[in-house]
């Protein structure tokens, strides 16, 4: 009964609002009355949602958003669009989730709140993680771009972490590593050393987990790039990564497991990456060990070796 009443109420509001939208001669209205329609649409949408009719609720939210936009309150419009996006998720309409999320983000940006827009995108991406990971990843990238444009990527740590976890769960290790390196760079601006070091270590772990020699080589390259950053070189995480490489070069899988279990930084990584670290080494160990040995033995003799974890820059100067 309550549901029936809600439905009636909703229909009633909807009809009124629709009437206000249409220009009429009786009421001497040439242009639609956006201001009057917006709250009515909102009430209708809420009532539909409570009644359980999600399709109509979404449609009502859409119209409410358009009305708000016409009156010029883009922020409210954006909020409505985001609600529409969430309802789409309940409906299982994944394409619409992404679409509404993007519309909400652009509305937020117009309203002068790009960070809120990026938040909306990341929320949409989170909804899409299980259903359509590629879309989720696209949304995450857009969110991170919006943060960067605003200069507030330092505040985007949560989004970075979620995006990295999503990528890792879907097996895209090099993408995840690239994202984590970007995260590390973003942390530089806010002096978030702990997150930065964990991000770099996570990148190394992700690449090593990929399980083939090329990725192991890439991991070493990534590690050396990371060492160029002052905050990382000399940190616990750098030592742990170095020990891990040495264990790989040593050629014993047990040594690798031993290093991961004994060193604290591996336990302090984010859950998804920590699980990866616990499962190391993965795949065909031999070529990885050989690659690591080449890099650790040969490459370190040259310039890379000078930049070891113990403040290698000064060593170079002395030499």
């Amino acid at each position: 009964m309550d549901r029936g009443r809600k439905l009636e109420e909703a229909e009633h509001h909807m009809r009124k609002a629709n009437k206000l939208w249409a220009p009429s001669i009786f009421e001497l209205r040439l242009k639609p009355d956006w201001e009057g329609a917006a709250p009515l649409y909102e009430k209708a949408a809420l009532a539909y949602k409570q009644a359980g009719d999600l399709e109509k609720s979404r449609a009502a939210y859409e119209r409410a958003a358009m009305s708000q936009e016409k009156i010029g309150s883009t922020w409210h419009a954006a909020k409505h669009l985001e609600t529409a996006s969430q309802i789409s998720k309940d409906l299982g309409d994944w394409a619409q989730v992404a679409e509404f999320a993007r519309q909400a983000a652009s509305a937020f940006a117009q309203a002068g709140r790009p960070t809120a827009g990026a938040d909306a995108l990341s929320r949409g991406a989170k909804q899409l993680e299980e259903a359509s990971p590629s879309d989720a990843h696209a949304l995450y990238s857009e969110a991170l771009d919006m943060y960067e444009v605003d200069g507030k990527e330092g505040q985007a740590s949560d989004v970075f972490r979620q995006a990295a976890a999503c990528l890792v769960r879907n097996g895209k290790f090099s993408d995840a590593a690239a994202l984590l390196m970007r995260f590390g760079q973003a942390c530089e601006s806010v002096n978030a050393r702990s997150s930065q070091c964990k991000a770099y270590l996570g990148a190394v772990v992700a690449l090593l987990y990929a399980g083939d020699a090329r990725e192991a080589w890439q991991a070493r390259v990534v590690f050396q790039d990371a060492l160029a950053v002052d905050a990382f070189s000399g940190s616990e995480e750098a030592f742990a990564a170095d020990a891990l490489f040495l264990a790989y070069a040593g050629g014993a899988a047990d040594a690798v497991r031993g290093v991961v279990q004994s060193k604290a930084p591996f336990r302090q990584l984010d859950t998804a990456l920590g699980r990866l670290a616990a499962k190391l080494p993965v795949g065909d160990f031999e070529p990885q060990a050989r690659a690591a040995k080449d890099l650790v033995g040969g490459g370190d003799g040259g310039g890379g070796g000078g930049a070891g974890p113990c403040g290698g820059g000064s060593d170079d100067e002395l030499m």
């Binding site: 505040q155 806010v190 978030a192 702990s194 997150s195 604290a264 302090q268």
Partner: protein, 254 residues
């Protein structure tokens, strides 16, 4: 009085007061009456005597020998050289004698002579040779049961403590990590909170000013309205009075 008499009389006097005469030895004995010092002094005197004897041997004896080197029947050059060599060996022997045990080993000043007053005496020397050393006492290095048990207990508790310290280290490490994350989070959110604070302050002040304006407006309106109402009432009253006056006039006219 003759010289002899003087001598005799001085001797008698000396004998009489001999008890007040304190020779060096007796003094030393009085200072620290311990048997160690007695023995030491006795040994010292002996050493001195030996040294004197050695010197005597060296000088007189050897000289005599040297003199007799070239004497004797049928002495050839070879014989003379041999005798010289023998004399040199004798000299060496004489030199070797008092020094006795040379550099490495020390004489055996151990044992019961220490007593209570060891400190003012000479150095306390423990040696593994001698009456209580390794050679005579094969149980020197044997640990007793108690010591073994003590050592085992020590090792066991040391291992236990190490294990617990490692657990603590892990826990403290986790705490440190959480603290660092919390710090980063707070660093991230504090400018946001400050921004909100500033905006709220601005909005509050705007509201206040708006309220004041509204209040002023309302007062103004009320007074204006009152004024209008007053005028209207006055007009109404005048109208009524005019009506009444006209009615009265009409009556009067009739």
């Amino acid at each position: 009085m003759s010289l002899y008499d003087l001598q005799q009389r001085t001797e008698i006097i000396l004998k009489k007061y001999a008890k007040y005469d304190a020779p060096l030895q007796k003094q030393r004995e009085g200072k620290s009456d311990d048997p160690f010092m007695d023995e030491y002094d006795a040994l010292d005197a002996q050493v001195e005597a030996l040294i004197k004897a050695k010197q005597q041997l060296l000088t007189e004896g050897i000289e005599g020998l040297q003199k007799k080197l070239k004497k004797g029947k049928g002495v050839t050059k070879v014989l003379v050289e041999e005798r010289q060599r023998r004399v040199k060996a004798l000299i060496d022997k004489i030199y070797a004698v008092p020094d006795g045990m040379g550099g490495a080993r020390r004489p055996m000043k151990i044992g019961g002579k220490l007593g209570a007053g060891g400190s003012p005496g000479g150095a306390v020397v423990l040696s593994t040779s001698g009456p209580s050393g390794l050679e005579t006492n094969p149980l020197y290095y044997k640990g007793s049961e108690e010591t073994q048990r003590f050592e085992q207990e020590w090792e066991h508790s040391k291992r236990r403590q190490d294990a617990q310290l490692e657990r603590m280290e892990r826990g403290v490490g986790t705490l440190a990590d959480m603290a660092r994350s919390m710090q980063e989070e707070l660093d991230r959110q504090s400018p946001v909170v400050e921004d909100i604070d500033r905006q709220l302050n601005r909005v509050t002040s705007k509201l206040k000013s708006n309220n004041a304006k509204l209040r002023g407006l309302v007062l103004q309106m009320r007074s204006r309205r009152n004024f209008c109402i007053d005028i209207i009432l006055v007009c109404v009253v005048l109208g009524i009075i005019a009506y009444i006056v006209s009615m009265v006039q009409k009556r009067k006219g009739q």
